[in-house]
Amino acid sequence: MLSEGKYHPPTENGLISLRNTPKILTPTGVELSGDLHDYLDYFLGSYHGGRNESYIYGVVKGEFHDYDLPGAYPTAMAMLDYPN
């Protein structure tokens, strides 16, 4: 856990930026990125896309309905806040 109020965006020190992720994983990048390496691996590792799966394969007879969550990603984005 980062202590409260200690988080700062990776770009804040002006030396290293997430815009160039591969550079962060170099000796220079590690040294210049401050606390970034304390948490970046966890957040990159826990980033996944949508849940796309088939649970049944082949022809399935019967009545079926295709449902979706309207405006899913924008709605979730509205719940975000700045990290402390």
């Binding site: 966890y42 990159l44 996944h48 849940r51 799966e53 984005m77 402390n84």
Partner: protein, 297 residues
């Protein structure tokens, strides 16, 4: 153990080892198999976010935390206003106008009912019913719960309030939809170092990140939707689920879009309330399509 809200309202990323009970049909922790496959097994080791951890815990999963980071949302409570639909209606001229029209429509119909011809009366009765229904809908929605208004909320609200001014499927409606989705796309752009064809060098080059890239934001958004979907899959009960696709699923159950929200489904409830305050529409699911004969999966 931190409280539910404290974990949900934070950027939490954990490395975990887990075992779900064998009775769980749709485990929710993603495990990467190779460069292109992610599966959701009953047991394994993976990185997950706070919302995924919370749902797994609620599903009875045994979780060993191997490491992790917890960064709470910024605490600006004294300045952060809670927002409810009734406040929204007070500020929103369009909604106020609709409400006034509803009132005027009802009173003018009652006053002049006797002067109209029978055909006009039928038309007016239909219109009156529509107005009544609209009023009932607005009243129902104004009882929606409060949610916190963050700066992200304000941005999304602006875009969505423009979007709903235009009919569904119209060009402008779709344009605003893509503006909202593009913003989220930018948060994740370049994280995976995916490649695309570059005409100048006639080769595949990694997609560069943009100014808005943030694995914290992108991870929170996508995992919250995966979690809400996984919660619905696990609460589906009888019937068949054919597949799931990011923000939806194909089911043999009819009328899930009409089903009222179960308040023990915490993620669905959060999603529902946010959506309701954002757009004024109280719907968790939307039916896109139905098929009577069958499907090929």
């Amino acid at each position: 153990m931190y409280g539910f809200e404290k974990i949900l309202k934070s950027y939490t990323a954990l490395k975990v080892r887990f075992v779900f009970p064998s009775t769980i049909k749709y485990p929710n922790l993603p495990v990467r198999l190779d460069f292109s496959s992610v599966i959701f097994p009953l047991t394994g080791e993976t990185f997950c976010t706070g919302s995924e951890f919370l749902l797994a815990y609620r599903l009875g999963c045994k979780i060993e935390i191997l490491g992790g980071v917890w960064i709470p949302f910024i605490s600006i409570e004294p300045f952060k206003r809670k927002k409810s639909l009734s406040q929204r209606y007070e500020r929103e001229p369009l909604i106020k106008e609709i409400l006034t029209k509803v009132e005027m429509g009802l009173s003018s119909f009652n006053d002049f009912k006797s002067l109209n011809s029978p055909s006009e009366q039928n038309e007016n009765e239909d219109e009156n019913e529509n107005l009544k229904e609209l009023k009932r809908k607005l009243e129902r929605n104004s009882e929606a719960g409060e949610i916190e208004q963050t700066q992200f909320f304000s941005v999304v609200e602006k875009v969505l309030s423009e979007r709903i001014k235009y009919p569904k499927g119209s060009y402008m409606n779709l344009l605003y939809k893509f503006i909202a989705n593009a913003g989220i796309g930018q948060m994740a752009r370049g994280l995976n170092q995916k490649t695309r064809y570059d005409l100048r060098s006639n080769s595949q080059k990694p997609i560069p990140s943009g100014e808005l890239v943030s694995p914290l934001y992108a991870g929170w958004i996508t995992s919250f939707i995966r979690t809400t979907l996984s919660e619905m899959l696990n609460r589906h009960g009888d019937g068949i689920i054919i597949s799931s696709t990011t923000d939806g699923f194909i089911s043999s159950k009819k009328g899930l879009d009409q089903k009222s929200i179960d308040y023990s489904d915490v993620f669905s409830q959060k999603y529902f309330e946010t959506r309701r305050v954002l757009t004024g529409v109280g719907a968790l699911l939307e039916e896109k399509y139905s098929e009577e004969e069958g499907v090929i999966s």
